[in-house]
């Protein structure tokens, strides 16, 4: 079904993991321009392409599931838009699908609640995976220092962690994301590590999906 507003699901691979969100928006806009996609523009002195992105992906992460709403000057078939954009997107960025949207539609932030990550940890000794898993299950609270606009605060993030499972040096974490705030997997991991008195950190973080 052709539509003039579509929700794009795209992935960001290794080569662009250090590109900041603001720079990434430009990469996206330029790919649209190269593909001659007829994107709608805002009015005013500095017309901008009508693109709405989900929460910024932190620098250093890769992801198989990012979202962007795009408004077009004319209706596009999802396949047409996806293939046009994929022909010009650089560096292992690609659009997986496009879903037509009809007004009123829920914003990206209100349509997702959880993000699933697969991470790799550094410095985990043998058997520590079992210890970490048990620590998480048995803990009543996981306190971490969370930075916000009003400064640093010691917060219990346990309610924000839906899943935590370590196997070898692979860490599977599911945390909340969206309107109600979100939790970075490295914070969850470091909170649980300090409960278990283990020194380790995540060296790669990959988002597999959001739902």
């Amino acid at each position: 079904m052709a539509a003039d507003i579509l929700r794009l699901k795209y992935k960001r691979g290794q080569p662009v993991k250090y590109v900041s969100h603001l720079d990434f928006v430009k990469v996206f806009e330029r790919a649209l321009r190269r593909a001659s996609v007829e994107v709608a523009f805002s009015g005013g002195y500095n017309p901008r392409m009508l693109l709405v992105f989900g929460n910024p992906l932190p620098v250093g992460y890769t992801s198989d599931h990012e979202l962007c709403d795009i408004t077009l000057k004319r209706p596009y078939e999802p396949e047409e838009l996806v293939s046009a954009l994929n022909s010009t997107l650089p560096g292992d960025i690609s659009v997986i699908s496009a879903e037509p949207l009809v007004k009123p539609y829920p914003s990206i932030l209100s349509s997702v609640s959880f993000a699933e990550y697969v991470c790799r940890a550094e410095g985990l000794g043998e058997g520590t995976d079992v210890l970490l898993n048990r620590t998480f299950e048995e803990s009543e609270a996981v306190f971490v220092m969370k930075r916000s606009k009003s400064g640093e605060k010691n917060v219990d993030v346990k309610p924000m962690i839906k899943k935590f499972e370590v196997s070898g040096d692979t860490v599977y974490i599911t945390t909340v994301t969206g309107q109600e705030g979100s939790l970075k997997p490295e914070l969850a991991f470091s909170g649980i590590c300090s409960l278990a008195s283990i020194e380790s950190s995540l060296v790669s973080i990959h988002k597999t999906s959001m739902y």
Partner: protein, 614 residues
């Protein structure tokens, strides 16, 4: 795979500066090329990626199958520190490989304060910084770009320089190198062969002499290189600019560069001849490209980059003879694509309503008017052919078209400058402010934002002002305060740090002895002297004091017969013309632009310019 491991990249600022992989970068099979060229820009990635010359020569060199040219930038100090701790070496962006095994390490030399970064990069590559210490099997370090018109301060660090336009010369050097490499000859043989290519300067073939008082006396070919090295190096010029290589692709950085846009070089050289301006002499003659070629290039570049902005590049946009035709054709294309056009470097005297409308069509950015000096007398001395009326007319046009502010740009410390000239600056600013209120008579308007920006004059080689001194540090300060106090609180005021200008002066007219100064400072500072957070004036000053004379300093009563350290470079403008311009400056006589009348500067012999009668 990036050369710098992830664990380090995660710790440094803006890691995407180092990982390469940008759109339109050129990757080749290294086993199939004969020459690997590391094209270095001695500053951060964001600055280097804004530079047109690098993009242009990158494209041009890579057109040849046997060359793989890659980009190299100075790592920011946070990364450099870790690299040095861990023994990592300077690497190229495309291959992510160390450059110490390349055939050439090339630097485009843009500003004097980057010299410490140049040697820092050679050192970080793992190579000796002095050319004399580099041995068989090591890369050749080659320099190009505008600062090469006085290569002496950095002569000891370079194996060779290519002076002037690189489009023809650089490939000739590469061909010569490829042949030399095939023949497996000693290092010195390549330099001897390269020295025969017009425009190539091999500094090791020359030696300098100084008189008893430590003043520069001469630079001559060493006896053993007689007949091999040219007595004077003739700057190279591409005469057929219209058909010279024009980029059809450019690398698009992931990280926003300072000037992140399509750049179209509409013409090279300048017809004006402002006497303080080195660029006005060293790129002569002015040569234009046709709108047809430029529009083709603009479309090609836009399609392969997707950029949102296109900028016309030259020394004075409105001196381009077919500007209207060009901008109309470009706007026709860019409007459809939602792109902007930037027209930098506009002159006050030709600022028209039509141009005004064109820039307003795209974006209301700030307007800068370069008046350069506060009085007509001084503007005549420097040959800035504009009048107060030109300035006020341009201001009127801007204010009645919705602009609520302008930036007025001046220089301080110009030859023959008096307090009256300096006080002319605030007086002009006040007149511009009055014009604003005249334009809005009877309306209730907010006060205009008028900013006066004053930089310090640095006498440059190959200009008629090369024989003048720079005014002393304390005097620079006094003159800055004089303007500031006379200006009052209704105007914005910005100035250049005099410390930077003083050091720039040491280097701009330095001779070979300045290399020691650059080396000594670098040893202690580590580079990045063009960034005020890393620049250490006291260090430069004390090292300079220790060394004494390191170059030509000029005098209040200029002696045009004094030998100049850079006279080994013949930029094509004759000595006689420079002396004539010096005399005319002292008599406050202006010289017409090259389209109005040929003043016989000497570059007509290159042909291909827009100069009258050529």
């Amino acid at each position: 795979m990036s050369y710098i491991p992830d664990r380090i990249l995660m710790k440094v600022e803006k890691p995407s500066r180092y990982t390469g992989g940008e759109l339109n970068q050129i990757i080749k099979d290294k086993s199939k090329v004969d020459v690997r060229f590391a094209f270095c820009f001695a500053d951060s990635y964001e600055i280097g990626m804004s530079h047109l010359g690098m993009k242009l020569l990158y494209g041009l060199l890579n057109e040849r199958d046997y060359i793989w040219c890659e980009r190299v930038f100075a790592p920011w100090p946070d990364l450099e520190k870790i690299m040095r701790e861990e023994g990592l070496k300077l690497f190229a962006h495309e291959s992510q490989e160390e450059i110490r095994n390349f055939d050439f390490i090339g630097f485009t030399l843009q500003y004097e304060l980057s010299y410490t970064n140049v040697i820092n990069m050679i050192d970080l590559a793992g190579l000796p910084v002095y050319a004399k210490d580099r041995t068989e099997g090591m890369p050749f370090v080659i320099g190009g770009g505008p600062a090469c018109v006085n290569p002496e301060p950095i002569a000891d660090f370079f194996d060779l320089f290519n002076v002037g336009d690189g489009e023809e010369m650089l490939p000739e050097i590469m061909d010569c190198y490829r042949q030399w490499k095939k023949e497996k000859l000693p290092r010195i043989e390549f330099l001897k062969r390269a020295a025969r290519i017009p425009g190539v300067y091999v500094p090791a073939f020359y030696e300098a002499e100084y008189d008893n008082e430590g003043r520069f006396k001469s630079l001559t070919v060493k006896p053993e290189f007689n007949g091999i090295a040219n007595v004077k190096i003739q700057r190279r010029v591409v005469p057929d600019f219209e058909n010279t290589y024009l980029m059809k692709s450019q690398v698009v950085p992931y990280l926003e560069a300072i000037h992140d846009r399509i750049m179209l070089e509409i013409f090279r050289g300048c017809i004006r001849g402002c006497r303080f301006c080195q660029a006005g002499y060293i790129y002569r003659p002015a040569r234009e490209r046709s709108p047809e070629k430029l529009v083709d290039a603009a479309v090609a570049l836009s399609e392969c980059t997707g950029y949102e902005e296109l900028s016309l590049l030259s020394l004075a946009t409105d001196d381009y003879s077919r500007l209207e035709e060009l901008t109309d054709a470009l706007i026709n294309y860019t409007e459809k694509r939602g792109m902007n056009i930037a027209l930098p470097s506009l002159r006050i005297d030709s600022f028209t309503l039509d141009l005004m409308e064109k820039i307003s069509k795209v974006r209301k950015s700030g307007l800068t008017f370069a008046a350069e000096a506060g009085t007509q007398r001084l503007r005549d001395v420097i040959n800035k052919g504009i009048t107060e009326e030109d300035l006020l007319r341009a201001a009127r046009l801007a204010f009645s078209n919705g602009y609520t502010g302008v930036k007025l740009y001046f220089m301080l410390g110009l030859p023959t400058e008096t307090d009256e000239d300096l006080l002319g600056i605030p007086a002009l600013a006040r007149k511009v402010r009055d014009v604003y209120y005249e334009c809005h008579e009877g309306e209730k308007v907010r006060p205009p934002q008028i900013t006066v920006s004053v930089s310090t004059f640095v006498p440059k080689s190959h200009t008629p002002f090369q024989w003048f001194p720079q005014i002393p540090f304390d005097e620079i300060r006094r003159r800055q305060f004089l303007i500031r106090d006379a200006l009052g609180p209704k105007y914005g005021f910005s100035w250049h740090d005099p410390e930077l200008s003083v050091v720039e002066n040491y280097l701009a007219r330095g001779d070979r002895r300045a290399a020691k100064l650059i080396y000594n400072v670098w040893k202690q500072s580590g580079g990045f002297d063009s960034w005020s957070e890393f620049f250490d004036y006291e260090l430069w000053k004390s090292e300079k004091e220790k060394l004494g004379n390191v170059g030509f300093e000029g005098s209040d009563v200029p002696d045009p017969e004094a030998p100049l350290p850079w006279s080994v470079i013949d930029i094509g403008v004759t000595d006689a013309f420079m002396k004539r311009e010096l005399e005319r400056a002292l008599l406050c006589v202006t010289t017409p632009d090259c389209r109005t009348k040929c003043s016989g500067c000497g570059v007509a012999r290159y042909k291909g310019g827009v100069c009258v009668g050529c």
